[in-house]
């Protein structure tokens, strides 16, 4: 029965009405300046917000079938799997990874702060890293040497979730069977 699984999940918490009211009231408060997050925390927060979102419909419409492939697993919404899941799933279609890359590249161009720029760049490079590790594909005009430098830098960033850091490390170590000739970077 569908509802049994839902009921089981709900049993993990036992809150009384006062606690629920208090929690909900938190969401109406303004952030306290005393608890202002530092830059790493802000980047970590923003990155997690992004990884939780699905690709926008206009960006994913052409590859809906690939996004919803049978090998995908984990939490899913009608909007499609979250970006974080797509980046971590070796079955994600290469075309979808390229869409993520292009999407975050466009977001990065319009970033309103250095924090946003760094975070969009992280997702952009994560898509490149996933293409490299899971599909043996070099989907960027960056030279291999330059790309590996970026991958190492993101892998070591304090605000990077452990699994994405692992993907960056893996991609930095990964050797592609055939590399395009090195040239000046245009990205």
């Amino acid at each position: 029965m569908l509802g049994d699984a839902v009921a089981e999940r709900m049993d993990n918490w036992a809150l009384n009405d006062g606690q629920k009211t208090r929690l909900l009231s938190l969401a109406l408060e303004r952030d306290s300046s005393a608890a202002a997050p530092n830059e790493d925390e802000q980047k970590g927060d923003l990155l997690r917000n992004i990884l939780r979102c699905a690709l926008p419909l206009e960006a994913s419409a052409s590859s809906a079938a690939a996004v919803a492939g049978p090998s995908s697993s984990g939490p899913r919404t009608v909007a499609g799997p979250p970006l974080g899941e797509l980046l971590r799933d070796r079955a994600t279609d290469l075309a979808v990874l390229k869409q993520i890359k292009e999407y975050t590249k466009a977001l990065g161009r319009n970033a309103k702060s250095g924090i946003e720029r760094d975070v969009f760049a992280a997702v952009y490079f994560a898509a490149i890293a996933a293409a490299r590790v899971f599909h043996n594909e070099h989907v960027t005009e960056h030279t291999d040497e330059r790309l590996v430098r970026f991958l190492h830098a993101f892998a070591q960033a304090a605000w990077m979730p452990a699994d994405l850091a692992g993907l960056f490390f893996q991609a930095a170590k990964h050797r592609l069977p055939e590399m395009p000739p090195a040239g000046p970077s245009q990205e």
């Binding site: 509802g3 009211t21 306290s32 923003l46 809906a64 977001l107």
Partner: protein, 239 residues
């Protein structure tokens, strides 16, 4: 392709609002995914609503199951909906009500031939029960996500302090923060408050992020929150 104003559409304080739940439901090409998502989010509220109408456990489960498979999927309920008439949650509630009334009429007709339907005592406000179950589920999901995130980020003590200070029943006895600090090895109360504030900020962002799929403005989110507070506190919502 992303438009210029999409710059912060995925997160951050000034992000553009994502399409609302209606948009996803009406434009998603995968009907199975729509059904799975609706069941995940609304099965429990629908079940609670049916129970509060006076139905027994098994009958409410059967009717909820029937509603999602027959009505939502079988009759393509979502695409027949008139989104101008308001929130998706309210639309679903009306649909469940009509479905239940219709099903109960049929079962009463056949009751003379079989056993009487499993009907108990109706609660005072089935709609409030529906909203309560929905908000309950929302809070649980946000707390689970928050806990997982704290663990992943090496902030287990942050999470424990938050839980201790905001969720545990003992906090209502106004226990001294110094005791809590001692328990979790935190240097002083000021540090502990800062850590709790840090988690509160994240809770706020996660909850509001989820509600942004239901509302098209910050004001809309606050209205939703106030309505849920009213459900749990028994006070009428202030708009």
């Amino acid at each position: 392709m992303a438009k210029p104003r999409d710059a912060t559409s995925l997160g951050g304080e000034e992000r553009a609002f994502p399409p609302t739940e209606w948009t996803w439901l009406l434009h998603c090409p995968q009907r199975d995914a729509v059904l799975a998502e609706l069941c995940r989010k609304y099965w429990k509220p629908v079940y609670c609503y049916l129970r509060s109408m006076g139905l027994g456990n098994e009958q409410a489960k059967d009717l909820a199951q029937g509603f999602f498979t027959d009505k939502v999927l079988g009759q393509d309920l979502v695409h027949k909906a008139d989104r101008e008439k308001g929130r998706f949650r309210s639309f679903l509630l009306r649909s469940v009500h009509n479905y239940a009334v219709s099903a109960l009429r049929s079962s009463k007709t056949s009751a003379s031939l079989e056993t009487a339907p499993d009907i108990g005592t109706a609660a005072e406000d089935p709609e409030a029960e529906f909203n309560r179950a929905w908000a309950d589920q929302l809070l649980h999901e946000v707390l689970e996500e928050l806990e997982q995130e704290c663990r992943q980020r090496g902030k287990l003590t942050h999470w424990q302090l938050f839980q201790e200070w905001l969720l545990e029943p003992e906090m209502e006895t106004n226990r001294a923060m110094s005791e809590v600090c001692l328990k979790y090895g935190v240097a002083d109360a000021s540090t502990a408050y800062h850590m709790i504030e840090n988690v509160k900020r994240r809770f706020r962002a996660l909850l509001r992020g989820r509600l942004s799929a239901l509302a098209d403005s910050e004001q809309g989110i606050e209205t939703e929150i106030r309505e849920f507070i009213a459900v749990f506190s028994g006070r009428p919502a202030r708009k």
